[in-house]
Amino acid sequence: MAEFLQFTSSGLTVGAVYALVALGFTLIFNASGVVNFAQGEFVMLGGMGTVFAAAAGVPLPLAALLAVALAVVAGLLLDGLAIRPARQAGPIVLIIITIGAALVIRGLAQVFFDKEFHKLPGFSGDASIHIGGAAVLPQTFWVLAGTLAIFSGMWWFMTRTMTGKALRATAANRLAAELVGIDTRLVTTLAFAVSAGIGAVAGILITPITLTNYDIGTMLALKAFVASVLGGMGNPIGAVVGGLLLGLLEAFAAGYLSSSYKDAAAIVVLLLVLFAMPSGLFGSKSVERV
């Protein structure tokens, strides 16, 4: 039982980060149709930015704020310099552009930060708490609470504000949204900014547990893509459920099977889910128009 609790808590922690990255990923996908492989770089910028600002003597909360701002600027530049000029290109070309952008961000981080691994102190200390025989870091609760806060904030934003509704309208049908007077370009820019911010927050929350380094983005972007597809591409709830599920799957596979095959277990489940449900767990059934 203690073992089970241990795996559950670590799975939920990692899964929460996947869920946040997948949420940002879905936001950009909905607003612009772009599958953003640079999503993981925002997480890296959040963690690395905070580490280096704190090392320069900035107090931690302010350092975190600066790092989020850095990621948001990166998101805006990505949209303005790389995505918008290629608006007319096909989906694969856009994917390649975001991969190029990820290379650029990683390249810059490697030059301006460094190639080492870095750690942040836990927000409430690093002494683990014992719950039912499982050792849980206090930072875990920060990660879970942060995820919950961001998710409720997003839900409120999407369903209660005019801007959020404009975003949903753009996702549903870009042309129709433009016809009713929605500035879809502004909506897309906003999506990139918010999504980068969410990624950075995820990076700051998780760095005390998993460490950060200039190179962590690729794997996270991959996981976010997998989580989004598992949940059903374009569905924010699907993205969060997919992310948590992926984290739990990995933790249990690592604990009960073999740690070197933890990713394999997640992928096998993903493939099985897709074979049974070709549009993911929460995906709407797509109908091909003839």
Binding site: Q88, G90, I97, L270, P278, S286
Partner: protein, 311 residues
């Protein structure tokens, strides 16, 4: 006729003439790397350019081919060339088995499923240390043929160049065959192709198997050229590199596949002079090419030429 034989002839001419510029074995090695990558990309182009199906896991087949060429001779005493054939058969079998359920998926779902497939291959190659030597990889033998030891970059330059031209000819033939026409039709519209009597699932499967075999043979040649294999060759970044080569050169274009491979093999070699800024510059370059020429280098150039001719 010219349209059919033009690309293979042009590629053969480049393979024959390029060594005039070469000054060292290093240049032959880079040349061989370009032809090997181009072969894999031409295979991928059968799937992506012709049939319109994305694969983000194609390096998986490349990796299987490379490891077949290394593992089978070292552990089971198979002749390296027989091992190459065995790798191709294994890839065909894997593609045939998983192809049908995977190719039912569309768009991003297909992309993720193929990505997962490639990652599974890379994970097995990394973790089964007893067989593959683990993350550090293992040496690949130098094949010999009737006493002639096939090694050295120059030898492999000519071998890989010849195999590439053969691969281009075969792919060209496939494109104009009934199977290729069926693939082109389902690329435009699966429903319309189905209505006209094309067995959509089977046609996609054919394209998948063909492209897997191309990847495998290319992987085996890489193993022989390098004399060493690592699991990175099957990894996500390698898959992305193949897709980028195909799109950069121009989807559906044979010459484009070779041009894309040349760009992504040669430029990083040049960029190593910039040490730290290597990734940065490669990223900027990829973005610039894709933003300025979204249909790929070769199609953009040929449409420019066509416009010139009209004026």
């Amino acid at each position: 006729m010219l349209a059919r034989l033009g690309p293979p002839a042009a590629i053969a001419a480049v393979i024959l003439l390029a060594p005039l510029l070469f000054q060292s074995g290093y240049h032959f090695r880079i040349g061989a790397l370009v032809w090997i990558n181009a072969l894999a990309v031409i295979g991928l182009n059968v799937l992506m350019g012709l049939a319109g199906q994305v694969s983000l896991g194609h390096a998986g087949f490349f990796g299987i081919g490379a490891y077949a060429a290394a593992v089978l001779p070292a552990r089971y005493g198979l002749h390296p060339l027989a091992a190459t054939a065995a790798g191709a058969v294994l890839c065909a079998a894997v593609a045939f088995t998983v192809g049908r359920p995977i190719l039912r998926l569309k768009g991003h779902y297909l992309a993720v499923a193929t990505l997962g497939l490639g990652m599974l291959v890379a994970m097995v190659l990394t973790n089964e240390v007893w067989l593959t030597g683990g993350p550090d990889g293992m040496p690949a033998p130098r094949p010999d043929l009737g006493g002639w030891r096939i090694s050295g970059p120059e030898t492999w330059y000519w071998i890989s160049g010849t195999v590439l031209v053969l691969g281009v000819l075969l792919a060209q033939n496939l494109r104009i065959s009934p199977a290729g026409l069926a693939l082109g039709a389902l690329h435009d519209s699966e429903v319309a192709a189905g209505t006209l009597g094309v067995d959509v699932a089977r046609s996609k499967l054919v394209a998948f198997v063909v492209s897997a075999v191309y990847g495998s043979v290319a992987g085996s040649m890489l193993a022989f050229l390098n004399g060493h294999v690592t699991p990175d060759r099957a990894g996500f970044l390698q898959s992305i590199e193949f897709v980028t080569m195909a799109v950069l050169g121009g989807l559906g274009s044979m010459i484009g596949s070779v041009a894309g491979a040349a760009v992504l093999v040669v430029i990083p070699q040049v960029l190593t002079f910039f040490h730290e800024y290597e990734h940065l510059m490669l990223g900027v370059l990829v973005i610039l090419i894709m933003v300025l020429l979204p249909s790929g280098v070769v199609p953009a150039l040929s449409s420019l030429l066509a416009r010139r001719r009209k004026e």
